[in-house]
């Protein structure tokens, strides 16, 4: 998948989880800036993204992600 495709799919997940608008899901977005994106929901989010994209993250990747841009880069590389 290219970056645009990855983001298109991510919009839906972020909408479902946090009710975010498309324009809010930008590469610089971090968990601190999103209401409800706590450590539990982070794991739920990662599990959901794994199943939506058909990929598997390592626990290292899950725990060290800095922002949405980094997540998207991993997804572009894996899909």
């Amino acid at each position: 998948m290219n970056e645009t495709q990855v983001y298109t799919k991510l919009y839906d997940v972020f909408d479902e989880f946090f009710g975010l608008e498309q324009s809010e899901v930008v590469p610089e977005l971090t968990a601190d800036q999103v209401d409800g994106w706590d450590s539990l929901n982070h794991i739920r989010l990662m599990l959901k993204i794994q199943s939506e994209f058909g990929v598997k993250f390592s626990s290292g990747q899950i725990s060290s992600l800095q922002n949405v841009g980094e997540l998207a880069n991993i997804l572009v590389a894996k899909t």
């Binding site: 539990l40 794991i43 626990s59």
Partner: protein, 658 residues
């Protein structure tokens, strides 16, 4: 064979496509109803969906909403592992089992402090149930490999700890303990040798679980065998090492819905909400085939026949459940005498009439029959489970009687028993001599009971089925199936005239014959070709030579859709009247009043009992059809086709081709 049956709770209906929107709507709604929440929990929801449902439930409990008929229940989950993912899933799953369940938050890893200190937050919350959810790391079970003494001491120590916990809970609260068995790690110590060397996880966990079950037997406390669940789906699916390292969770999030459903079942059984009566459909459930059409010799249930054996397994399992105290009943769309003949005379039947408390074989809707069964044996509808291969029957019962447990069934009858058992509707927390005798106490005499007025608005249900009828003239594509229906149908068959494929081929080209094949699709399934009608023109009249239908789609208004099309096509073809015959046989009693019901007038009775009927085309009323009718009727020589459809419930008038 896959584990998805269990992990995706496939005995529950799949969530509707708009489930996300429904959750969003719930969030916006100020007042929640218990029935609505329970309805949503009745689908096979994922962990995330259950978590979302749990927040709606939480809000409802917080705001003091009236959630009846759900029973309030407070559960504290005490664990050496993180339970934050599990807790909301348990709460939402509780809805499915009739509870408005709140989970008391307990600090992670504080097992003994919380349970031994009378002033702990667990006891302060005054829960009804304390779920002791310890994994293999939570009991002092580890021992040096090969050291039998140490292994024994570790086991004794763990059980002593259990005794201490039980004593403390009994002293400090009114709560009932639910203790889970230990799931052994997926990774072996040696391999096959694990079973032989003292101190291995395999031996320690096995011995502990058995001792735990023995300890709890005869006490008011409950056993939750998660080790059994993990075995069923596989240890490799249960354990997720990554998640342990990330968040100290004991099992993969993917298994949480199943885990929680088992918690819900045990709670329900404990509160007397487990099912106590199994209502069986007959055709294609208890045996393969349709006895009314295939005959006593035509149904399959013999050893050595793979399909027959699958259905025989259903019977075998029904008898095992009966031996456990589950009452058996029958609800079947059949002629009573024909259905009973199998129970009396078929050599391969395991079930006999005296196993069945109430035997309802008739042509009424099953919701009405199930209500009659419930009244007769004085067990509530919430004590009933209904097993039927036909998705539309299941859908009707689920909609009309939402408290009846209706497991979804897969296409393959070999998996019927597995699915029924996986659903856990007959979970028990005790088993006694009394249970063993219970089924006999229900005077199993295959009684047939009178039906009250229909319990359900069938029209609403039919509308919700999204039925699409497709009518076509006889053609090469349909030929084989038309001939098969003509040779097999005995019950809904007005004249029982048999025609071969060659006969059908000739009819296709015969301008004096109007042959129509009817297909039916609904939201559950494509039922394929389900009805055949043959009209022979005699001047300005049609005589209905053949009208038959598969009993599988009985009660759906197929005959009304057919009549509407006959009226329209006849009208356009200059036909003024339609005549018809009902030729009685041993099997087609059910359609004796077919033409009368459709508004035909009887014109005579022949010596052999055949009744003759007639109606003027202009007198045929517009038919109410709950679905869309597509007509692909083309006249021979002028190949045209036209499609028309309407999806409302007004009378459908069908444009036809001249």
């Amino acid at each position: 064979m896959s584990t998805s049956l269990y992990l995706d709770l496939e005995w529950l209906p799949k969530p509707p496509a708009d489930i996300s929107a429904r959750f969003k709507a719930l969030r916006a709604q100020s007042a929640q109803s218990g029935a609505e929440l329970r309805h949503l929990a009745g689908f096979g929801l994922s962990e995330l969906q259950l978590t979302r449902l749990a927040s709606a439930l939480d809000r409802a409990i917080e705001t003091g909403a009236d959630l009846s008929p759900l029973a309030p229940l407070k559960v504290a989950v005490v664990s050496n592992t993180t339970t934050e993912f599990l807790n909301p899933v348990i709460a939402a799953t509780g809805l499915r089992h009739g509870f408005a369940l709140s989970v008391v938050p307990v600090p992670f890893g504080q097992v003994m402090q919380e349970l031994l200190d009378p002033a702990s937050s667990v006891y302060a919350a005054d829960p009804d149930v304390i779920l002791l959810a310890l994994d293999h790391r939570g009991w002092p079970l580890a021992a040096a490999h090969g050291d039998a003494k140490e292994a024994e001491a570790a086991l004794t120590g763990s059980l002593a700890q259990l005794d201490t916990i039980i004593a403390s809970v009994e002293q400090n609260s009114r709560a009932v303990l639910m203790v889970q068995t230990v799931v052994r790690p997926a990774d072996t110590d040696f391999g096959s040798l694990d079973l032989a060397v003292p101190g291995t996880w395999r031996r320690q966990v096995g011995a502990f679980n058995q001792a735990l079950a023995d300890r709890l037997a005869g006490t008011p406390h409950l056993l939750l065998d998660v080790a059994g669940i993990a075995e069923t789906i596989g240890l490799a699916n249960w354990h997720d090492p990554g998640m342990w390292h990330l968040a100290r969770v004991s099992c993969a999030n993917r298994v949480l819905p199943l885990y929680a459903d088992h918690v819900g079942r045990v709670l329900a059984a404990w509160k007397g909400k487990a099912r106590r009566c199994l209502i069986l459909d007959l055709d294609n459930t208890v045996w393969s085939g349709v006895i009314g059409d295939d005959g006593l010799d035509g149904i399959r249930l013999a050893e050595g026949d793979a399909v027959g054996e699958a259905h025989r397994d259903v019977q075998d399992r029904a008898l095992q459940l009966r031996a456990r105290g589950v009452v058996l009943a029958v609800s079947s769309k059949n002629d009573d005498a024909v259905a009973r003949a199998a129970f009396r005379d078929h050599p391969d039947m395991l079930l006999r009439e005296d196993h069945i408390a109430v035997f309802q074989a008739n042509w009424r809707d099953k919701a009405t029959n199930i209500t009659a069964i419930s009244d007769e044996i004085s067990l509530g509808l919430d004590a009933m489970a209904f097993l039927d291969d036909n998705p539309a029957e299941r859908g009707l019962v689920r909609e009309a009687l939402p408290t009846v447990a209706v497991p979804e069934l897969p296409d393959d009858p070999a998996l019927y028993v597995r699915t029924l058992i996986a659903s856990g509707v007959f979970e028990a927390t005790t088993f006694s001599e009394e249970d063993r005798r219970r089924a006999d106490d229900y005077q199993s005499n295959a009684k047939r009971v009178a039906l009250q007025a229909s319990v359900t608005n069938i029209d609403d249900y039919l509308r919700s089925l999204d039925m699409v009828f497709t009518m076509r003239r006889f053609d090469a594509t349909g030929r084989a199936r038309i001939a098969q229906l003509i040779s097999k149908s005995n019950q809904f068959n007005l004249t029982t005239r048999r025609y071969s494929e060659a006969d059908i081929t000739r009819m296709e080209a015969d301008p004096t014959i109007f042959g129509m094949q009817v297909r039916l699709k609904d939201r559950f399934a494509d039922n394929g070709m389900i009805s055949v009608v043959i009209c022979r023109s005699e001047g300005a009249e049609w005589d209905i030579d053949t009208w038959l239908m598969s009993c599988r789609v009985l009660g759906r208004g197929v005959e009304r859709a057919v009549l509407q099309v006959l009226k329209d096509v006849a009208g356009k073809s200059g036909i003024k009247a339609i005549t018809a015959s009902y030729i009685p046989t041993a099997r087609n009693q059910m359609v004796a009043a077919h033409y009368e019901g459709l508004g035909f007038e009887q014109t005579g009775t022949l010596p052999d009992g055949t009744t003759r009927w007639r109606i003027a085309v202009a007198d045929i009323p517009e038919q109410v059809v709950h679905g869309e009718v597509t007509v692909e009727v083309d006249t021979p020589g002028r190949r045209q086709s036209e499609q028309a459809g309407r999806s409302n419930t007004d009378a459908v008038s069908v444009p036809s081709v001249t």
